[in-house]
């Protein structure tokens, strides 16, 4: 009961302060970015512009050959602007690239020079041999360059043979997948929830210490842990509020909100308890800022691993935010991996409790100086 009335008071205090609105403002800003600016998929398919420098009949045969393959399944007639003029071109969509077939060599050179697109001229000589002429931009990876070289040197059927002999197995058991945009949400949740919570609670504590109200609190029979807990309660509340503000409009009812709540509460608890503990070693926010900053940076590191799957050293997994990200991803996917999410939550709850216990010991000693 006292904890609850303490929580209500802290909430009132927070709602009359400046930080609360920063947090809400951040959430709204992120929401606007997500709704109106961030595209669903970032890596738009690679575009290639092709000119078939060959007689009409050969062109038809070549194109038919292309559409016959599984890779190329769609042909569309689209308008694109080349050198200020609208031109009708054929577009073939493959799994990972869009091929535009242009009408002239000049157009190809224009696209390569002015639009910086990968462009290609396929020329057929009198002996019906194909010559490939690529216009690259210089920043393509060596891998791509090698691939292009191989593609042109090896005869087509040989390559096909090689491909067929490879066994292709899907790595992801889970068929569900997040769009690039949705894939950013776990980071947003970790950042706006946990990392801000770390900072916020320290800010609130220092505000109270500056006003000296904690001394007055110390002269009541209410224990320190209740005071600390009601502060944490506010952080958890703000974290839930700002997370929902972003998540509901962007994801609708897709995520598993019950699990999300469990994870949000446990992670916000963890980071605010950590914030409390850090704050206990300093006398002012300015003094504490360096340490808080370092912790925030450390906690952000796993984000990089998250977005760069190729850079994922094992040591990064020991950072708490790594599991946070994975947990949130799982919840947003609603892939039913409740066991994972719950175990992550339990982990954070446990670590949070230990931190809270230590913070409580510290504050009993230092709050009242």
């Amino acid at each position: 009961m006292k904890v609850f009335s303490g929580f209500l008071k802290e909430l009132k205090l927070a709602s009359r302060g400046f930080y609360f609105y920063i947090e809400i403002f951040m959430a709204v800003l992120i929401l606007i970015l997500f709704l109106f600016i961030v595209p669903d998929e970032f890596s738009a398919k690679g575009e290639e512009y092709v000119f078939l420098d060959m007689p009409k009949e050969a062109k038809d045969v070549y194109l038919k050959g292309l559409t016959g393959e599984d890779l190329l399944n769609q042909r569309k007639n689209v308008k694109i602007k080349i050198d200020g003029k609208d031109k009708n071109v054929d577009l073939y969509e493959t799994e990972d690239s869009s091929l535009y077939f242009l009408e002239s060599k000049e157009d190809i050179i224009y696209m390569a020079d002015n639009k910086r697109k990968i462009s290609l001229i396929i020329k057929m000589d009198e002996d019906h041999n194909l010559a490939y002429q690529y216009y690259l931009q210089g920043y393509e990876s060596q891998k791509l360059k090698n691939l292009i070289r191989v593609l042109n040197l090896e005869s087509a059927h040989l390559l096909q043979e090689n491909m067929d002999s490879l066994e292709v197995r899907s790595i992801s058991i889970d068929s569900k997948r997040l769009s690039d945009k949705e894939n950013m949400l776990p980071s947003v949740l970790v950042f706006n929830g946990s990392l801000m919570g770390l900072f916020l609670i320290a800010a609130y504590i220092f505000l109270d210490r500056q006003e000296g109200v904690i001394k007055a609190y110390a002269l009541t029979p209410s224990p320190v842990w209740q005071y600390l807990m009601s502060k944490i309660g506010v952080i958890v509340f703000i974290s839930i509020l700002s997370s929902m503000l972003v998540l509901l409009p962007v994801m609708g009812l897709k995520p598993d909100y019950l699990l999300l709540l469990v994870l949000l509460i446990s992670t916000a608890f963890f980071s605010s308890a950590l914030g409390l503990l850090i704050a206990s070693f300093y006398d002012s926010l300015i003094q504490a800022f360096g340490t808080i900053y370092v912790f925030m940076i450390i906690m952000i590191l796993p984000n990089m691993a998250y977005f760069l799957p190729s850079w994922s050293p094992t040591w990064i997994k020991i950072f708490p935010t790594y599991s946070m990200l994975q947990g949130f991803k799982s919840v947003i996917l609603a892939n039913g991996d409740a066991a994972y999410v719950l175990s992550v939550s339990a982990g954070f709850l446990l670590m949070g409790l230990i931190m809270f216990f230590l913070a409580n010991l510290r504050y009993k000693k230092i709050l009242f100086r």
Binding site: K215, L219, T220
Partner: protein, 284 residues
Amino acid sequence: MIKVKNLYHSYKKDDIYQVKDVNFEVEEGEIFGFLGPSGAGKTTVQNILTGLLEIHKGQAEVAGYDMKNISKDMFNKIGMSFEQSNVYSKLTALENLKFYAKLFDVETRDPKDLLKLVGLEDKANMRAGEFSKGMKHRLTFVRSMINNPIMWFLDEPTTGLDPSIAADIKNIIREKNKQGVTIFLTSHNMFIADELCHRVAFIVDGEIKLIDSPRNLKLQYGDKMIEVDYIKDGENINDSFSTILNEDKKKLKEIIDNYEIQTMHSKEASLEEIFIKVTGRGLV
């Protein structure tokens, strides 16, 4: 109500003590004044007695509770008004009191009554952050009464208040004391001590120099001041001299011998003058 024995305190936990071998007792129903100049250690002693500071050396007992092993229950019985106002500036006066009341396990007073007591009833819904210094101080003061303490600590209860409000506060203190509340107050204002306290302790540099009632102190040191108006180099000068201190006696004699005396009469020494005499120190 309070028993203090060989109390020492060092903020840096070294050999330099800010409170040195302090001994005193406060009886139930008494108003006990701790008087001393700034930095003497008044607040430090008070903070030890309320449990805000840990006891390093010595013993202290407050309202029957050993301060080395504080029971939470003690806080239901004591109240403390802080020297520096410490209220939530983002909460209104009323909210501040309402919230504070909830922290106790005992019956608490109606916040509105308390605000009325110090003339803040019209400001109940104003945020404390918008209060003047004196208003904040009054709020801090009444907050300390909310749990009907039987042992009431007041750190500089009237410092910085205008005279009429200070008079109100003094009346409240007297009234509470009449109801049986024991009061420990610190001040460097001798008048309030003189008016309110049953007994006072003079503290300088962390040491208690003397404990007695203002009345006894005046009997002992009073009537022994001579106030003189005289003309020196065409100027009117007013001065008072002790009749015990040799130095003062010499000076007085010199004045009588050399200057034209206008008036001269003996007067009761004020507590402040006695303090200076006893400790050799001024109060600021």
